[in-house]
Symmetry: C2
Subunit: 400 residues, 2 copies
């Protein structure tokens, strides 16, 4: 078995995370150490840089520089929301082949796996040997065949730490508090808010995920029940909650407000970067349960995927190992693969990295299993056991 000789390119796509640069460092150092490729190019702004020939040379980055990049939030190479079609991918192929690039490492979500797949096919049709590897990344944790994805653990840690502190704030100054958390279709991140519960009675009382239909009457009844009993109510809500027809509440609000909605290149309605959903739910509660109630809403927004001082150590380690494992898959002779994370043991928690064909991950979405959701407004202990090792130890708290 002989490996093609030539150069490599690495790129980062979609929403950045606090550990996506750890994957970048993992890819680069593993190529350097193995000699898989001669030169290592970084494409600026993902497919956009590959389309326009905007590359930077990463071949000689030293260990200290890589360690620093590995702990830097955001996508250091730049990212893109472009959704390349076959025509776009043909132009990418021209840029890659012109640079004798034989290995393509793409760090991103299921769309990135699909881009790997299409570029591979274009190369194959041209009789050019190009091996494409997808390194998983998404705070949404929605890639199939993966126990979880790099980026999720740190975002989940942010959400858990935020709810832990915010619940204590709410206990000190009681009222109804809504926290809106990222997640279009998958509720894993919102569900992780349940980790904030401690023996001191903190944490969210109610959790609403996009896997369940959001019914306003049911929501108001839930809030009323908790508030009547506890004198306060902490609520974690996914930004992706939707009505019975599947229309997101955010889309409904945007259409009411302006008659139009902002969509990305993938056709998705823009959910983040606005406080509209939280403010709407707060207004709804006041209208239905009393104008005098102290109701507040916070939307965690981009902080949950970028906050510089709250990282899950296992997440950071796995992100780097995922990058290295993708290079190992190339060294092992795979002609292309998506790296997947599999849990091999719960106690002690251990992970292995398994390459699978790109099409098995591309364009597919995983959501919370129904068995992890309880009564439409909570999660089960089984979910908590699953998510705890991904987040790491939370700060310990006391009570008087």
């Amino acid at each position: 078995m002989s490996l093609p000789k030539g150069n490599a390119v690495v790129a980062q796509s979609g929403g950045p995370t606090v550990v996506i640069n750890a994957s970048l460092a993992g890819v680069v150092e593993a190529i350097q150490q193995s000699g898989l490729a001669d030169s290592i190019f970084g494409a600026r702004h993902a497919v956009r840089g590959m389309l326009e020939g905007d590359f930077t040379d990463l071949t000689s980055l030293d260990g200290a520089a890589l360690d620093l990049i590995a702990q830097t939030p955001g996508a250091s190479l730049g990212s893109s929301r472009d959704k390349p079609d076959e025509e776009y991918c043909k132009k990418i192929f021209e840029q890659l082949s012109a640079r004798d690039i034989r290995y393509f490492f793409y760090i991103g979500g299921n769309d990135s796996a699909d881009t790997c797949r299409i570029v591979s096919e274009v190369a194959q049709q041209a009789g050019y040997e190009l091996r494409a590897f997808h390194v998983p990344k998404t705070i949404d944790n929605d890639l199939v065949l993966n126990d979880h994805t790099p980026g999720f653990g740190s975002a989940a840690r942010f959400v858990a730490c935020a709810l832990l502190g915010d619940s204590l704030d709410n206990r000190a100054l009681p009222g109804i508090k809504i926290d809106v958390i990222m997640g279009r279709h998958a509720g894993f991140l919102t569900a992780a808010s349940a980790l904030a519960r401690t023996e001191h009675g903190t944490g969210p009382h109610l959790i609403y995920l996009p896997e369940s239909t959001f019914e306003i009457d049911r929501f108001i009844a839930d809030v009323d029940r908790v508030y009547s009993k506890e004198g306060r109510c902490m609520i974690a809500v996914s930004e992706g909650i939707h009505d019975a027809e599947g229309t997101s509440i955010t889309q409904m609000l945007a259409e009411q407000l302006s008659g139009s909605v902002e969509r990305d290149a993938h056709g998705n309605v823009q959910l983040s970067g606005s406080g509209a959903l939280g403010d709407y739910l707060a207004r709804l509660i006041r209208e239905r349960l009393g104008e005098k109630l102290r109701v507040r809403a916070d939307t965690f927004g981009y902080l949950q995927r970028s906050f510089a001082d709250c990282v899950s150590e296992s997440d950071r380690r796995e992100a780097r190992e995922s990058g290295r494992a993708a290079v190992q898959a190339a060294l092992d002779g795979h002609e292309g693969a998506s790296l997947t994370l599999r849990r091999t043991s719960d106690d002690p928690y251990t992970i292995e990295y398994v390459p699978v064909p790109l099409q098995e991950v591309a364009r597919k979405t995983k959501v919370m299993p129904a068995s992890w959701i309880q009564d439409g407004c909570d999660v089960t202990d089984e979910f908590l056991s699953y998510v705890a090792p991904l987040v790491g130890e939370l700060p310990r708290i006391g009570s008087v």
Copy 2:
């Protein structure tokens, strides 16, 4: 000089912080160690608990429990937004004297110093010896005679870490990003966002504080200038920004929306707990500079005063020392005082705790000196030198 013999009460008021419980631990342990008082009562929900006789006994809390409380966000005793008048304070005095309480330690902002003052006066009129001590606390950093206040450093650290990560996110996926930060009259916390700037060109490009009049045309021109040059624009805005008449933009929006605004017991318009200001500014930018622009707004909300995993170590230490210093002031024979933090040296950074008469701090507000504000949309290096030691080392970042 003989000290009155009897019991002590401690309470926490206003918005909680991540270190207000460290001050609580400091007060309790210093009383335990010195024998200043026989029993130590904690009042639940501040003046409300003192009014209603809702006390908990803290006399026998051990060191391990105090250490745990000291690292717990939120006000463990509960807080209150009540603004006690003289009648209210007379009832408090009845509860305190009935328990033979001779020492009153109140952790809070300038309103708390004023409550200490009024309760002291009521006791004095009744010929009852009661010594009241104010321990400073506020993320707004707006107490006079203080170099800074416990709670500010950790909140400033949160803001700096948030802007650091969010700016890197914005560089990866360019656009215009607005981050709304707490602060009604004082812009210190919003100004601390400037710490996020690194040699890699991150951090906010524009900073708007409540100390300056917010002019919409000027704001739009600033954003246009930065975006045209950089292809992106990071903006830090205080929730307290206001027009030339002093009307906050948030109040203007609330009046436009519903014809009424929510006010607290102090007559202040409710600013936090809503994304309305950020969403308004984002809409304004789109209307004036182009509907197709990628404009996002996040409002940091209650996270900046409660986040469990982002604490300034010097802030935590000083919060605890402030509590201890208040007890020391009592032991030194002061009949009442507000503890103030004075910087004795910049290099190395050192602080001392100086008791001053309550009325010198009560009801007064400090804002950013004009000399620390630059061009109405930035802060000076002098401010950065001032704030850096309060926040501690930020995560180091790399770049490719």
